[in-house]
């Protein structure tokens, strides 16, 4: 089963990236140079520059928001929405088919 993340940027361009289970949505984006994810802290939950909006029907596949991520989400460059997550906290699982949109800016 393939594991895929579909990244849509603020202009609507879609990039489908095959990921490895265990990697985060942030890592998968950064390693492949997907624009729209900065990830200054490299996944240390310290920068809030890996913000993504998750397509509503995918939200239930994801782990719940921990308190620290919740606080950090108030500091994103583009305001947080109901479906906001920090992509470094989202680990890919086998067969996952995840749709996320990157915000207009991260800083």
């Amino acid at each position: 089963m393939t594991t895929t993340v579909h990244y849509t940027d603020a202009e609507g361009t879609v990039r489908d990236i095959e990921g490895r289970p265990g990697d985060s949505v942030m890592e998968t984006a950064v390693r492949n140079g997907v624009p729209g994810i900065v990830a200054e802290c490299g996944g240390s939950l310290s920068c809030a520059t890996c913000h993504v909006f998750v397509r509503d029907d995918c939200l239930s596949e994801l782990p719940p928001i921990e308190p620290m991520e919740d606080e950090m989400l108030y500091g994103t460059a583009v305001d947080r929405e109901e479906n906001s997550r920090l992509s470094c906290q989202l680990k890919l699982t086998e067969g996952m088919d995840l749709y996320v949109t990157t915000p207009e800016t991260q800083v």
Binding site: V30, N32, P35, G42, G43, S44, S46
Partner: protein, 450 residues
Amino acid sequence: MASDNAAPTGLLIIGASQSGVQLAISLRALGFEEHITLLGEENHRPYQRPALSKEWLQGEVGNESLIFRSAEYWDEHNVTLVKDQRITEIRKNPDGSGVAVAESGAEFPFKRLALTVGARARKLAVDGADLAGVVYLRNADDALALKAMVGDATDIVVIGGGFIGLEAASSLKKMGKNVVLLEHGPRLVGRAVGEATAEYFLDAHRSRGLDIRLGARISRFVPAATHDGGKAVSGVEVTVGGGTAAGGAAGEGTGAEGTAAEVIPAQIVLVGIGVIPNTELAEQMGLAVDNGIVVDSHALASDGTTVAVGDCANMPNPVPGSPAGERIRLESVNNAIEHAKVAAYSLMGRREDYAGIPWFWSNQADLKLQIAGLSMGFDQTVVRRDDERGKFSVLYYRKGRIIAADCVNAPLDFMAVKNALAKRQNIPADTAEAAAAVADPAVQLKTLAV
């Protein structure tokens, strides 16, 4: 391998790490069309350092997670990655072109040059410094060597109570080791944070069981009396307390005025006493050097053509409104990234001043420190503390204006200050009433920004 008659690369970036990688990426984003060579002395693909003392050391993330970009990314973007070549000499022409010569003899001709050579660990020169088991933590090889040794060790001494020392000590403690942290100065984290934050960390770490000794004078590393000639470290001879703790470089003290010397057992001694910027190439090129390669606000060195970026660069303070002429060298990921962006503009012929709000993070045990702004020159502080929820922040002011904050497990405070600084707002604390509001953890800082 490149040679004398090879076509020169459009831009040679020496130093394939945080700032070198960002420079290449930013140039491509800006439409730089020339070929780029990203060259480094390490025999690894470019990787991020921060996790080396934190998540990676604890085995929470693997090697692959530290790699910046896939090999395909560099191919697709016409960037040649060169590993394992240490440049020892640069011959440069007045127009900015030249040739870089590696220790191996390989030559790398270039049209333009960027120095992103970073900094190296400062060594502690005491007897026994060469013993096996005395290690530093600056790069992947250091980290791999440390990790390979950790399994067998029961006792570890960490020398230096700065960020690297505290992070590594916390990580090693979490891995079940007996860790003693020795700090030469009278408090933790030297000049990077204020007194209140340093005290908070001292209490927090001690209450979590970390053995921290301040005012420690290292007299020597004690060799093990092993049959192979006593080549491995077995302990650290130290004198603690007494005399003046301040002043003098680490390891200088003899302990004459302290308590009697003690030997703390250790199969590993990790030394984290700061870094020295790599300025040798710049000096050899005749560039101005003063605690780093001196650059202007466009990341240009004194020859007007070479750019120098990141940990190796001494630059005008990038904080808007900071005192004119103030210069600084920053050691942080955020600076490496932001400075590289400015250098990229510079190489494209665009003059964008480096301006921004520096920020920094450090994870130690369950303590997440986030620093926004630069606290140097502060004349007032306000402490915000919520012990019930384990949150602690210190806000720094200069002439009534907020300039920085240290925030522990308090991302909302960190964000509020970072945003206020970016928008050039204040979070006033100039009256008793205003300061009380800032100090009240029940009040959201964001609501106080004006």
